[in-house]
């Protein structure tokens, strides 16, 4: 079929051909038919071979070059199908099935058939014209601006196209009375109403909420949220010989909350503010690269984090820093150097696949809450359900937070899997980060920081080398 060729050529704007003869079906009018324009595409395979190919393998693409779109996107119909374009009026018409005898309309075919029996038709006419039934049909959306307007993106199901048209281009007449969400398709509305309000939200602290807003507000102030960092800070303080409080200015400038809990400095908030004011805040990726900006800082963290478990003495202070993103992103070379110095061979974190990192992270015993959260994030959308075996997911409490993050994790995955450039941006962010990492590492006591290597050079050179 000539249709098949045009389906996979997205640049081909011509409409597809329908069956060579009239395409009018018994049920609808008007129906638009058109022919393909051969001159606008140059298939490397002849049409006949395409069609035969397709006929053999129902849903295989004839050839890779021609395929511009993946098959599993909606609106990639069977190439054999007959494309039908219905007008909005027809689409929305409730009585599609019309009796040819008395012109009475019915919503369903079965009802029409039942009705036709009543006409006492001679047996031959009673039979439906079966020729039309065999053909598969695909429907295009009448809305010209819609992506499904093009036959190559026609939808295979009449009900489907009707719902699509209502949803995207229709007026939203159905409203949920619990949450005021509005829907154009009644079945959507019904489906929503069933679940609306029944969903429950559970906070880490164990409290159950039926209302999302009260859950969110509770979560924001819940002790379970604060507990993690407090516990880690306490643990870190115990393990490190030189407490971090000795360098409040540095730490304050670099980190956020965990230290605020420990430090009684009144300046914490204001200095934080100032710091953030003066520097592109390392907490989030600078806006030059919008993609990473959308990624939760922690999610960028954890690809690298698993490496920490090899450096146990260092791990805790790192966990204290809620935004080692910055450190990591600015200094992958650092870790590299660290690895070298400890004699453990570890490929730079960013070369590891997501799964590998997940597995590595799973071996880390003690994880900061947001690392755990990123684990769930990396879990690719298991809302609130962290599959990694370590128990830290209980700290995550991202039942709703993960909503925010998980849909961003696909970008994350792509980014950190394919990253290089993104990180460059952060490298020259500021000396503070440098110093901080350095000082933090120095304080672990367990690691000998080489004079050269990752930290050898002060300033941005070290970062710049990666």
């Amino acid at each position: 079929m000539m249709f098949s060729a045009s389906v996979y050529s997205s640049s081909n704007k011509t409409s597809t051909s329908l069956s060579d003869q009239d395409a009018a079906t018994s049920t609808v009018s008007p129906v638009i038919t058109s022919k393909i324009h051969h001159d606008q595409f140059t298939p490397s395979i002849t049409l006949s071979s395409i069609s035969s190919h397709v006929q053999e393998h129902d849903h295989l693409y004839p050839s890779p070059q021609k395929i511009k779109k993946k098959r599993n996107l909606p609106g990639n119909p069977d190439p054999d199908a007959e494309v039908i374009a219905l007008s909005p009026k027809t689409l929305m018409a409730t009585n599609r099935f019309v009796c040819e005898i008395c012109n009475k309309g019915f919503q369903r075919d079965q009802n029409l058939q039942l009705h036709r029996r009543g006409h006492n038709l001679p047996w031959k006419l009673k039979q439906r014209n079966n020729k039309d039934e065999v053909k598969k049909r695909a429907y295009v959306c009448p809305e010209p601006t819609c992506v499904h307007h093009h036959p190559s993106r026609a939808l295979g199901d009449l009900t489907g196209i009707k719902k699509h048209f209502c949803r995207k281009h229709g007026e939203k007449k159905w409203k949920c009375d619990k949450c005021s969400k509005i829907y154009a398709v009644q079945s959507d509305w019904k489906a929503h109403s069933k679940t609306c309000g029944t969903r429950e939200y559970r906070c880490d602290c164990g409290t159950l909420f039926s209302r999302k807003d009260s859950f969110i507000t509770h979560r924001a102030f819940c002790d379970a949220l604060a507990e993690e960092t407090a516990r880690l800070s306490a643990a870190a303080a115990a393990s490190i010989s030189i407490p971090n409080t000795h360098h409040p200015s540095i730490i304050n400038n670099v980190t956020n909350t965990p230290f605020n809990i420990q430090l009684s400095s009144q300046n914490s908030t204001t200095s934080l503010f100032h710091f953030n004011h003066n520097h592109p805040n390392p907490t989030w990726i600078p806006t030059q690269d919008p993609n990473p900006a959308r990624i939760k800082p922690e999610t960028i963290n954890h690809p690298h984090r698993p490496t920490h478990h090899l450096l146990p003495a260092i791990s805790l202070p790192y966990y204290q820093d809620p935004d080692p993103t910055r450190i990591i992103s600015r200094a992958p070379a650092t870790f590299h150097g660290l690895h070298v110095s400890t004699g453990v061979h570890q490929p730079p974190a960013h070369h590891l696949s997501a799964t590998a990192l997940l597995q590595k992270a799973a071996t880390v015993g003690h994880v900061v809450d947001h690392v755990g959260s990123t684990m769930s994030g990396l879990d690719m959308g298991e809302l609130g359900h962290v599959t990694s075996s370590v128990g830290y997911h209980q700290h995550v409490g991202l039942t709703s937070g993960s909503i925010a993050t998980w849909h961003k994790t696909d970008r994350l995955t792509r980014d950190f899997l394919g990253l290089t450039g993104d990180q460059e941006v952060d490298h020259h962010g500021g000396v503070e980060a440098n110093v901080n990492v350095r000082s933090m590492l120095t304080y672990t006591g367990g690691i000998e920081i080489p004079a050269d290597g990752g930290f050898g050079t002060s300033g941005s050179d070290a970062w710049g080398n990666c």
Binding site: K178, I182, T270, T283, W284, P297
Partner: protein, 522 residues
């Protein structure tokens, strides 16, 4: 309350104007003037009759348990006036074991006062008449409002006899742990008393210090969240303001919110969540919270705000929203805040959010504040305020009218609290006490110092319009969100708009209680 009355007796020696006589009210006080002494004796004599009199109470009171409750009060004989011997002598049915409490118990005996104001009729009325005067009030259950209002009138008229009479009755009937009427009586009586004794400021400070001692992050959080869970009183404004802010900030990539609220940042988690989920590119958010404090409360509040800041930052991280948090503790009037000193970056879109704090501004400084704001040119300002006109005057007619409005307003508030909180709720008690402090501020303190002088939406609107702002209507989605919010609470709450005034109102039993609106500089 007894202690208060005892206090009165001492203070009365110093205040010559409030009370006609200085009475050291110990019944056996021999230091009292001779004239009083006579009355004392009379008093003692008549107490039995008063006893009898009070027994009569049962006769005409309704059988509701409440009145029985009242009877208990009456059974302790304390006639304000006893002037003529009572003619009815039913035998006392209940044995009131409390011996006729010494007059000192209440700090005053009206007996000596009765001669002070011959022009006023009821000065001479026997004690039972006073109670009988209000018999209708009792049967109609309007005793609290009636007594309190009459007390206010007595204050305005400077009729101390009457005032004391009423205050005595109120004292008998009031309790901060009773029903709404009793609670109102308790707090208003306390305020009236302080007003009488010109100790309003001091009383207010005492009450405030007492509450600040108990103030901590945990208690504040518990209070705020519980209140929001059972009542949309504050969440109404939050949802409306957040909606307006989201609409105004549409497309902006750097947002700065200046928050001047009394809700301890409970408004912002839902906004952060909305920002995180509804925007394609998550903007950077900076939040500067301004806390207006009296000088002595600073450290306690500072600690609380620090912890709140911690949580907010952490939560924003959880949400994946780039976030900065800053707190400014401003002492003194809000209108003195220098907005230009706040660190705002050039590319940030600014919203200023006022929730329950405009009322703290001195009346005469409100226009100045709005002018300052207009010059500051934020993208939008969102205002949430309680709908009442509590511009209580200092004297006379203005005082009585203002008092009446205060009574009306706090009655609604207490009723709303009572019906939505569980019966025994510590949080509700805290809120009631805070309301009690507000009543003290309004009734007993000078308007200059007052931080509770609410204005109506109409008044605020005319101020804003006059200072160069125009109202921004809430979008349909925001209104839908608000309506959906109200559906999540118990019955009784509603939402409405007014034709003449911009913004929306939260209704409690059809009465507008909270007003929310959004404005932008013209």
């Amino acid at each position: 309350m007894d202690a208060l009355f005892r206090l009165v007796s001492h203070q009365k020696q110093h205040h010559s104007h409030s009370f006609n006589s200085t009475t050291t009210r110990t019944s056996n006080s021999s230091s009292s003037k001779s004239s009083h002494f006579i009355y004392n004796q009379d008093q003692d004599q008549d107490q039995e009759e008063c006893f009898n009199f009070f027994m009569d109470e049962e006769d005409f009171s309704s059988s509701s348990s409440r009145h029985h409750h009242h009877n208990q009060y009456y059974s302790s004989p304390q006639p304000p006036f006893h002037h003529q011997s009572s003619s009815n002598t039913p035998t006392p049915t209940t044995s009131t074991t409390t011996t006729p409490p010494p007059i000192s118990h209440y700090g005053f005996s009206s007996s000596d006062l009765q001669h002070s104001d011959p022009n006023i009729n009821y000065s001479y009325s026997p004690s039972r008449d006073v109670t009988m005067e209000y018999s209708n009030s009792f049967s109609n259950n309007t005793w609290a409002s009636d007594l309190l209002l009459d007390a206010a009138r007595a204050v305005a008229d400077k009729n101390s006899n009457r005032l004391q009479q009423l205050m005595w009755m109120l004292n008998e009937l009031s309790s901060p742990y009773g029903d709404t009427d009793q609670k109102l009586s308790s707090y208003f009586l306390q305020a009236l008393f302080s007003r009488m004794t010109e100790s309003g400021t001091r009383s207010y400070q005492t009450l405030s210090s007492a509450s600040e001692k108990m103030c901590s992050f945990e208690s504040t959080r518990k209070l705020a969240l519980k209140f929001q869970e059972v009542s949309p009183w504050t969440t109404f404004g939050h949802v409306a303001s957040n909606g307006a802010i989201m609409d105004a900030f549409d497309g902006e990539s750097k947002l700065h919110i200046i928050d001047v609220s009394n809700t301890f940042c409970t408004q912002w988690p839902t906004l952060l969540e909305a920002i995180a989920t509804r925007t394609d590119e998550t903007p950077h958010v900076a939040l500067t919270t301004v806390i207006v404090t009296r000088t002595d409360a600073v450290s306690a509040v500072q600690k609380v705000m620090r912890e709140i800041g911690n949580r907010m930052e952490k939560f924003a991280r959880l949400m994946g929203v780039p976030f900065k948090f800053n707190v400014i503790h401003h002492t003194g009037d809000l209108s003195n805040l220098n907005f230009n000193q706040l660190t705002i970056e050039n590319d940030e879109a600014v919203a200023v959010n006022f929730n329950g704090t405009l009322r703290t501004v001195n009346n005469r400084r409100r226009d100045y504040l709005f002018n300052t704001l207009r010059n500051f040119r934020p993208k939008i300002i969102t205002i949430v305020e309680e709908e009442a006109d509590l511009s209580i005057g200092t004297d006379g007619f203005e005082f009585v009218n203002g008092f009446q409005e205060c009574l009306r307003w706090f009655r609604i508030y207490f009723e709303a609290l009572d019906e939505n909180f569980p019966k025994t709720s510590n949080e509700r008690l805290m809120l009631e006490r805070a309301a009690g402090r507000a009543v003290m501020d309004l009734v007993a303190c000078s308007p200059e110092e007052s931080v509770e002088r609410r204005e109506t939406a109409a008044k605020w609107s005319s101020r804003l319009s006059g200072c160069g702002f125009r109202a921004v209507a809430y979008s349909d989605e925001v209104c839908d969100d608000v309506r959906a919010l109200l559906r999540r609470y118990r019955e009784g709450w509603g939402m409405s708009t007014a034709e003449t005034v911009a913004g929306i109102f939260l209704l409690w039993k059809e009465t507008p209680v909270v007003w929310a609106s959004a404005w932008k500089p013209v």
